[in-house]
């Protein structure tokens, strides 16, 4: 069903076959944050431990924690780190450490309690804070992947470190470990250190930059969570009476069996003897009262992706069919937010953004916002869902805000949309097209006369899912956000949109 792969969807651009990866590679400084997990990874990962999964997929881009020690690849896994795939994949820089295989002491500074011998670093009751380390060209605000192996573990703990800047978690067992560290602030020493009188052996130390600007969240409660659930019901094999929350939207109920499902609350009606019923609910609580035999039951928004199976078994909220159901990160509309610390978009003053989104609430929620608050900062942009018009796309030049909306589309709406912003000219209103494509949604252009332009895009943080990381939380799933610092062509945009659409299970 998703055999082309998430980044493999092709289109014809300028007479050649183009892929999203080739388009990203064409435009230097591109970013691609993919919050989905491909069906093949989910299937393979179901029987793997996190360590086994990382061994099988070393360049997987989603991690449960902000330091990227544990991959996120199954339903209910939180997403604390999304690595940028600015060329269509995770790209590592050159090896930063010398003699990481520890074949000798060359290149390493060795503290008391440590010794390098027989091709490894041996710690023998190494005092707290002691380490083996070396100076490397760590750069500020970049992220580095540390990998190393612990063997012959006896006691205590150790951790990877950028001195006086960032430390990895304590490690107190044999194994091969991965951690992503950044926030280097001019201290150029990296190594592995003892935390609590460590006794064990370290080997195969590697430190490589992970190219790009990565989205992360340190606070566990504020991390979006991977979900592949589309059927709103529970215990669907043999349905019993239950209630669900609906929005003012169209839904489709299906089941087999000779029984009856009577709907009350936000919609009044019934489905007798199986089959399907498409109905329009109001917002609130819908109760499904079951009599007789009702099996293989499924309730989902009527505009759900078309290329997913018609029935999803759901036993509990965490136990459901995943085969054929795209797994993507869901923001909870309470406090979830990922932050890309710094993007410098002043070089071109142009951006194209393509996003695959399913909004799940009518409350206002920021999908993304460049800077902590576009209303207070010149050279910004953003997009939010909610209210009567969604999405609302904003851009601010030197003047006040310019904004536009697509035709009102209430949640829940799976959607692929694209927008281009251009601050490179003196005035921009007529030269900034906005493509919003989702089948029937027409292209529109910025209206109004309030953005006089004349500014530069900023170098600032990009917030995904909340304003400034604290207000207007977005409720819904995000398949991916692609940001290219250029006005790409309409045909190139279409290729990216098609790829995202395919990953979402085809929403148009």
């Amino acid at each position: 069903m998703f055999g082309l792969g998430k980044l493999g969807k092709m289109g014809r651009v300028g007479g050649v076959r183009a892929t999203i990866a080739s388009i990203l590679s064409k435009y230097s400084g591109s970013h691609h944050w993919d919050f989905g997990v491909s069906a093949d990874k989910v299937a393979a990962g179901a029987s793997m431990t996190p360590a086994q999964f990382l061994a099988a997929y070393p360049n997987h881009n989603l991690y449960q924690d902000a330091q990227g020690t544990t991959p996120a690849y199954l339903p209910t896994h939180p997403v604390g780190l999304c690595l940028d795939q600015g060329t269509g994949r995770v790209v590592l820089g050159a090896e930063s450490v010398t003699n990481g295989e520890l074949s000798s002491a060359t290149g390493w500074i060795v503290d008391t309690g440590w010794a390098i011998s027989s091709g490894a670093a041996v710690a023998t009751a190494a005092p707290n804070g002691t380490s083996i380390y070396q100076a490397v060209a760590i750069e500020y605000n970049k992220t580095y992947r540390f990998t190393f192996t612990v063997s012959n573990y006896v006691s205590g703990s150790c951790f990877a470190t950028i001195f006086n800047s960032a430390d990895g978690p304590n490690i107190s067992a044999n194994g091969t470990y991965t951690v992503h560290l950044s926030k280097a602030s001019g201290v150029l020493y990296v190594g592995v250190a003892s935390r609590t009188t460590f006794t064990g052996t370290i080997d195969n130390i590697s430190v490589k930059e992970v190219i790009g600007s990565h989205a992360s969240q340190s606070s566990t409660t504020k991390r979006p969570v991977l979900s592949g659930r589309y059927n709103m019901l529970l215990a669907t094999a043999t349905l019993s009476t239950q209630s669900v929350t609906t929005l003012a939207a169209s839904y489709k109920l299906t089941f087999t069996g000779s029984g009856t499902v009577t709907l009350s609350g936000t919609y009044v009606g019934s489905l007798v003897g199986g089959g399907s019923l498409t109905f329009t609910a109001t917002a609130g609580t819908l109760t499904l009262t079951v009599t007789g035999s009702v099996t293989v039951a499924d309730l989902r928004p009527a505009n759900s992706p078309t290329n997913i199976p018609a029935y999803q078994r759901v036993t509990t909220s965490t136990d459901y069919d995943t085969a054929g159901f795209p797994l993507r990160a869901v923001w909870d509309g309470v406090d979830d937010c990922l932050v890309v610390p710094t993007l410098d978009l002043s070089i071109t003053d142009k951006v194209t953004i393509v996003a695959g989104v399913t909004a799940l609430s009518t409350s206002i929620g920021m999908l993304y916002e460049f800077s902590a608050n576009y209303a207070n900062n010149i050279g910004t942009f953003g997009a939010y869902y909610g209210g009567t018009e969604s999405p609302v796309v904003i851009r601010r030049g030197a003047g006040s805000l310019g904004y536009t909306t697509a035709a009102p589309k209430p949640a829940p709406l799976p959607q692929v949309f694209s927008v281009q912003h251009n601050l490179a000219g003196a005035t921009h209103l007529t030269e900034t097209p906005v493509f919003i494509t989702n089948g029937s949604i027409p292209s529109v252009t910025f209206g109004g006369s309030d953005d006089t332009g004349g500014a530069n895009f900023r170098s600032d943080a990009l917030y995904i899912g909340q304003r400034g990381g604290s207000i207007f939380p977005f409720s819904g799933s995000v398949q991916s956000i692609t940001l290219i610092p250029a006005l790409i062509t309409a045909s190139e945009t279409a290729v990216i949109e098609a790829s995202v659409n395919n990953s979402m299970g085809r929403v148009y």
Binding site: T220, T221, K222, D332, V334, G469
Partner: protein
Amino acid sequence: MYTYLNLLVTAPATPLAQQLIEAVAGEAGKGTLSVPLVPVGSPPGTPATWYGASGAIGSELVQLLKDAQALAEAAGIDLSQAELLLSQSDVTEIDAEPWSSVLERLGLERQQEAL
């Protein structure tokens, strides 16, 4: 490794709760309880009466949210302080009670902000 919880704490108790969460969870606890909540129908500008969080909570913290004795020992505070803190908290599993239901039960809504 994680349990998915709604965690709400009264405003006066929130600073202490945040300190304890960060002390136990480290960096992963920073920024928890960031959602300001007010009684339903409060006018804009009403100070928050509760603060909330919803999402993944590490296993090391979950037990402390249910057991005053364990919380007191882990945080190095008196048992009475731990009991008082937990009495000022509302902890539910997301699966058992969605965030919206918790707010409805407690008569709370999110503090209004200007767009």
